[in-house]
């Protein structure tokens, strides 16, 4: 996209389970699709195990030999680089203590989580990406309620990781998601207050905030100085019934297993009935000369190629961005 804003596309929707997005030619098809849609930069998401050869840093390097080798692989499809990588330390990884569950809310886990971040910090820096984007805390239904001290403990973990990212010359951005234990606007603001603005930024996801009951445009305007990264997608639903508190909310809420049984929460830009004011949000980014990446996602939305193409059309024809 030829624009003053920098646009990237997230590959997460292609990699929906560990063994479906492994062959290099399949990855090349996704990369070419993204490229044809006008995006020359991608965001990666963390994974685990030998199948996740586009998700787990050590496995990527095993597959491609080096950071440069991986970049060469991307450039075969005319994708020039990586904007960012998403990492959730609460998601158990084979590489870290054999699928141990750890949480930033538990002070006993802090040292391990900081240590676990190192491969991601090294990889993000090695491929010339700009942001390590992290899930700051686990799901609310799995986490005891967080008071101010609890949020401070979470923030302290990310301050320590922020020291590593700063030393590596990259940014760290904590990402809000609609299931997280940091859920309300007050809690989210508390987390930002508990982190060092020099080392920890905010990854604003327009749909996740909207589902969580927070207006992304207003939140951005209030915290523009902290927003270091953006995920742009739409939703048709807000979680008006506190479904995020249901046990197993990843399935019961986000896959329609219970509650209002909504099977799909996230949608392409321009979707009918979308709740996100996408033009208003992008205009706000421009007003503030937002310097970071805007990563478009087709997260849990449907056919990944179709959604990338629909998102591209929206950027070109509704927002007037030249490809």
């Amino acid at each position: 996209m030829r624009d003053t804003l920098r646009w990237a596309y997230a590959l997460n929707q292609w990699n929906v389970r560990l063994d479906v997005f492994v062959r290099h030619e399949d990855q090349q098809r996704a990369l070419k699709t993204v490229s044809a849609c006008g995006f020359d930069t991608i965001e990666l998401a963390s994974g685990t195990g030998r199948w996740d050869n586009i998700s787990r840093p050590e496995v990527i390097l095993t597959n491609h030999g080096s950071h440069a080798g991986f970049l060469d692989f991307l450039r075969r499809a005319r994708v020039q680089g990586v904007s960012s990588m998403f990492w959730d330390p609460q998601a158990p990884a084979e590489e870290e203590e054999g699928y141990a569950f750890r949480s930033t809310a538990d002070p006993d886990d802090a040292d391990a989580i900081v240590e676990w971040s190192r491969p991601f910090v090294d990889f993000v820096a090695g491929v010339g990406a700009e942001q390590l984007v992290v899930r700051p805390v686990g799901s609310a239904w799995m986490t005891p309620p967080l008071d101010a001290d609890g949020i401070k403990r979470v923030g302290d973990v990310w301050n320590r990781v922020g020291e590593l990212t700063s030393a590596a010359g990259i940014g760290l951005a904590v990402h809000y998601d609609c299931l997280g234990a940091v859920h309300t606007e007050a809690e989210l603001t508390g987390l930002l207050d508990a982190t060092d603005p020099a080392r920890v930024g905010f990854a604003l996801d327009t749909a996740e905030l909207t589902v969580g009951g927070i207006d992304p445009v207003a939140f951005y305007r209030a915290h523009a100085d902290r927003v270091a990264h953006v995920h742009l997608k739409d939703t048709r639903h807000a979680d008006t019934g506190e479904e995020y508190r249901m046990p197993g909310a990843e399935s019961t809420m986000l896959k329609g297993g219970a509650g209002r049984r909504i099977e799909r929460w996230f949608f392409e830009l321009g979707t009918e009935g979308g709740l996100v004011d996408v033009p208003g949000f992008v205009a706000a980014l421009r007003e503030h000369d937002y310097p970071g990446w805007v990563v478009v996602e087709s997260d849990h939305g449907g056919n990944p190629a179709e959604l990338a193409m629909l998102n591209s059309w929206y950027l070109q024809h509704e927002l007037g961005i030249a490809k």
């Binding site: 030619e25 098809r29 044809a36 056919n303 190629a305 179709e306 193409m309 629909l310 591209s312 070109q316």
Partner: protein, 316 residues
Amino acid sequence: MTAPERAIKWSYMDHWRSNGPSGPVDQWHSRKTMSAFLKQVKAVGFDAIDTFDFRIWQMYGDYGGPAKYQEMVQDHGLERIVNTFHAADYDVRNYAPHVPETHEAVFEDFRVTMGRWSEIRLDNIIVMPATLFYDMEPITEDKLKYSAECWNKVGEITAGFGVKLTCHHEFFCGIQSEPDIETFYSYTDPRYVNLFVDTAQHCIAGLDPVALYDRHAHRVSGFHFKDTRHVATGDDHRHRPDSEIMAPTTGKWFYEMGTDQGLVDFEAMMRAVRDNGYRGWISVEHDKANKEGGDYSESTAISRWYAKNVLEEIYR
């Protein structure tokens, strides 16, 4: 500063399938699915679409006619409808180019058809110039001559509407071998009968599409750029209703250009397009892309990626 005019523009031939709430559908399922189709085609950089003749009923029923449907196409950023494919259901009893007694029915069909399309500008009306192979065999010089005479007259009719008549040689039609194609064109009038080169169909029939194009470049009025991994063998070209679907050797004949193990040399094809001074539209096609796990959206994006990053480096 305006961009220099391109010699080549890219059109998308409208085969499509997607999965919706009611199961697999094509883009004509609803205005919503049509809009999603047009957005995707435009998003990756196609300039226009081609369509099928038989869609005209949905254009009238759902959109108010070809002009109204084309307005919708244009509302999505695409230039227009460039070509239509006249998919006739040939029948040797009453509609067969090699059977002179049926020609008047063919002519009347085109008089009516061209009238229906006359509210928009088309470049080509594309036809398969023969019946199914086994409805025409043995292929004789007389049958090729009768077929040529039929299309000469049809071409005169379409020219009266400002549209070129152009022939697309499916590998399973009666005029698909190199000598038969050459004989057929030797009897046709170059003012009225053009060649539409489908790269995959000719490859499947065992022809080199680049060489065929070079021989007939002066009367080539368009292309379907698509790939294949297979050449027809044995009786592959003798299956009803058509061998693209029913040939026992091959479940999927067509792939998007740029596919691994593709038989079409697209770079040579594009050099030939350049060297012959062709200017105008190239249509991209990958019919039945969804077979065997394929996906139309992805194939469309990848084919456009290939056009932009490989073919436009040769000629644009």
